[in-house]
Amino acid sequence: MGLNDILFAIFSFGALSSAIAVVLTRNTVHAALHFVGHLLCLAVLYCLLNAPLLGVLQVMVYAGAVMVLFVFAVMILDMGEQEHAPLFNSAGQALGAGILGALLLGLLAWGLGRGGLDQALAPAGAASLPGVETDNIAQVARSLFREGALTFEAVGILLLTAVVAVMVMAKRKLES
């Protein structure tokens, strides 16, 4: 039970509990905050899984920028104590959602538990690739820009469209 495992246990439990909290809280702001906690726990998990770059990235981009937007949105929509009504608006719906969630969970678990995981996950070709220490940033960058150059350009264009989209929406709102 090395330090590693202890941390691992703590933070995975933290992540799970904050996830559940996000779904179940009444107040939207609380949900947002819980989600931030969730993200941080995940970041730590990434570090534990030899992916410090991603952990930092997660914290910076995700927790930082995305959650800021969320809080902004909450502020702008002036939601606050909205959820007075019961969590689900009808028993049937809750039941249905529960069943679906359980089904999904069951299926995935059954998938995992089916074993043959290694066989499935270790594609024949992959074994030949040189296994590299994952926390070497240069390696990540190399795969990012050499092999994934095309995807990289695509993301560029995606971001461009996002900018344009936001501008279009903003423009209309500013005039209204």
């Binding site: 679906l100 999904l104 299926l107 995935l108 059954w110 998938g111 043959g116 066989q119 499935a120 594609p123």
Partner: protein, 642 residues
């Protein structure tokens, strides 16, 4: 190109041209065309007849194929024509009398407009064509085709006066009743095909024994064929359509319902005599039905007021005699009566037609009388016809009818009571033919207005009357009784056809024949005198007699209420059944099913719109999720690692 092609197809061509271009041709041309077609057909028929007689008696059956109709594996049917003594006589009768009637109807149908005129001639030509097909048939398929064509043309001709609903109904009635008969005929054909594997007369008739002499199958086949004959020749229960068929124009009644079509049934029985010979029971049934119909129809004929109805019932009864003759195995006698009857009955009908023409459509005998002076030719010819019908000695009717009655006693399947029935029928016949003559032509004119108008009809109507009168007398000489003359042209002519029939021991009946002849002469004389007394002079007796036996009189007058009975039993039951069928089966099941499908689709659509696509984003998410689960499940079940 044997003459038969011309005989058969010329009337058809005439009919087609008349029907298609009739209106434009004008009366003269269309009438001319039609008569020319039938006359040339008659000429060729006679030449075919002579050609056949040139052959040796045994070889007198020539099959000429026209068109290979159907070959299914080993089973082959061709549209072939068979010329043998029997059909030779028939084609001459059909075309001969047909042409006379064509000439007669040129004048008779004068007042119709061009289109209707041409239509009439087209139909009559078509009828001659179909009758020839029937007569010249070489196998059961062709004879059945002829059978149906004749049925259609009789329907068309009966319903000629389209305006009159009664004519249309009579047409329908004739067609439907014939169909009932045809059903039996068809079943018979199926059995024959099943047993023999072929329909050609050449194959079936010589090997008729295959059916098993006297076996149930033979009787069944014979009776089924006879059912067809009954339908067509108005015998037994299926006679009802003939009296109503008088709705058609008189030449039609003369041609179809006297001379040719109605004899088709007798022709069929004569043609398939080999099958009938096999089962005595069938023969007995045929004979008895013939006899009973003869007596039954004769009794009705005695009281009818309308000339054409009287003649119609007399035709039914005379046909009864022919069927009785054929049923007794006396095919030659039966056929001879057919021949003579064709002549004098056509004569009587045409006579009635000219009387009607003269009195502008007046048919009721009670309004006539004393036309003797006004219409001399019609009068004389009508008297000759009536004498033949009654069986006055030395006339053709006498020889042919008494030959049948003689066969009833001395024939192979003789039975005394059948003779009695026949004899009673003969008495009635004599009585009503006398009544016909005296009520129309003698005594004082009852309806002066009509009487003044009466005039002798034009030459195209009078000529056929004279020819037919001479013909009906001359024909009688062909079949003189054995003892009278050794010269037996008619039976010699038909001998080869009926060679295989166990002919009656003719010779020894000499003395019996004398006595019979004497008896018939006496009865005819007495009944002639009686009818003269009652009808020529204004004698109250008949009305008194009718009053006293009123019940019987009314029964006869209403034709034993047969029509009403049929109406009640068959027609109403059938209508009820079809109405039920329509309401439950059709509406309920079929329409129901269709509506159900339609309704279901509609509900499904509404349901989908309502439940599924209702804008609830979360519902969409749920479906999405369900989809994911499904895919995952599939992947795990079927996919799995490499």
């Amino acid at each position: 190109m044997s003459p038969l092609y011309v005989v058969l197809f010329l009337p058809l061509i005439g009919a087609v041209i008349n029907r298609l271009f009739g209106a434009r041709l004008g009366k003269r041309a269309s009438a001319g065309l039609a008569c020319a077609a039938v006359l040339t057909a008659f000429a060729f028929a006679v030449s075919a007849f002579l050609g056949l007689s040139a052959l040796a008696p045994a070889a007198r059956s020539v099959v000429t194929p026209v068109y290979g109709f159907l070959t299914v594996g080993s089973f082959k049917i061709g549209f072939d024509l068979l010329l043998d003594p029997l059909s030779a006589v028939m084609i001459c009768v059909v075309t001969g009398i047909g042409s006379l009637i064509h000439i007669y109807s040129v004048a008779y149908m004068e007042e119709e407009d061009d289109a209707e005129y041409a239509r009439f001639f087209a139909y009559i030509n078509f009828f001659v064509f179909s009758m020839l097909t029937l007569v010249l048939a070489a196998n059961f398929m062709v004879i059945f085709t002829g059978w149906e064509l004749v049925g259609v043309s009789s329907y068309l001709l009966i319903g000629y006066y389209r305006g009159k609903t009664s004519a249309a109904d009579a047409g329908k009635k004739a067609f439907i009743v014939n169909r009932v008969g045809d059903l039996g005929f068809l079943l018979g054909i199926f059995i024959i095909m099943g047993v023999f594997g072929s329909l050609d007369f050449g194959v079936v008739l010589p090997h008729a024994a295959l059916l098993g002499a006297g076996s149930g199958l033979a009787t069944a086949t014979a009776l089924l064929l006879f059912m067809g004959a009954m339908g067509k020749s108005a015998q037994g229960p299926l006679y009802v359509w003939l009296p109503d068929a008088m709705e058609g124009p008189t030449p039609v009644s003369a041609l179809i319902h006297a001379a040719t079509m109605v004899t088709a049934g007798v022709f069929l029985v004569a043609r398939c005599h080999a099958i009938f010979e096999l089962s005595p029971t069938a023969m007995g049934v045929v004979a008895w039905i013939g006899g009973l119909t003869a007596l039954y129809a004769a009794t009705i004929a005695m009281v009818q007021a309308d000339i054409k109805r009287v003649l119609a019932y007399s035709t039914v009864s005379q046909l009864g005699y022919m069927v009785m003759g054929v049923g007794l195995g006396a095919y030659t006698a039966g056929f001879f009566h057919l021949l003579t009857h064709a002549f004098f009955k056509a004569l009587l009908f045409l006579g009635a037609g000219s009387v009607m023409h003269a009195l502008h459509g007046e048919l009721d005998m009670h309004k006539m009388g004393g036309l003797r002076k006004k219409m001399p030719i019609t009068h004389i010819t009508f008297v000759i016809g009536a004498c033949c019908l009654a069986g006055v000695p030395l006339t053709s009717g006498f020889f042919s009818k008494d030959e049948i009655l003689y066969m009833a006693i001395a024939g192979p399947h003789a039975s005394l009571c059948l003779w009695v029935v026949g004899y009673l029928g003969a008495c009635c016949t004599a009585f009503y033919s006398g009544r016909l003559v005296f009520q129309i032509f003698y005594g004082k004119p009852r309806d002066h207005h009509a009487y003044d108008h009466a005039h002798e009809s034009a030459w195209p109507m009078a000529l056929p009357l004279v020819v037919l009168a001479v013909g009906s007398l001359a024909v009688g000489l062909l079949g003189l009784p054995k003892f009278a003359s050794s010269w037996q042209p008619f039976s010699d002519w038909l001998a080869p056809v009926f060679a295989d029939v166990k002919t009656a021991p003719e010779a020894d009946g000499g003395s019996l024949v004398y006595w019979l002849m004497l008896l018939y002469t006496a009865t005819v004389a007495f009944l002639g005198w009686l009818s003269y007394q009652w009808f020529a002079k204004e004698n109250p007796k008949p009305t008194a007699l009718a009053a006293r036996w009123n019940g019987l009189y009314r029964l006869l007058w209403n034709k034993y209420y047969v029509d009403e009975f049929y109406q009640l039993v068959f027609v109403r039951a059938f209508l009820g059944y079809s109405r039920w069928l329509w309401r439950w089966v059709d509406q309920g099941i079929i329409d129901g099913a269709v509506n159900a499908v339609g309704g279901f689709a509609q509900h499904l659509g509404a349901l989908l719109r309502e439940r599924v696509q209702n804008g609830q984003t979360r519902q969409y998410a749920a479906f999405l999720m369900a989809g994911v689960c499904l895919l995952l499940g599939l992947v795990f079940i079927y996919g799995g690692g490499r």
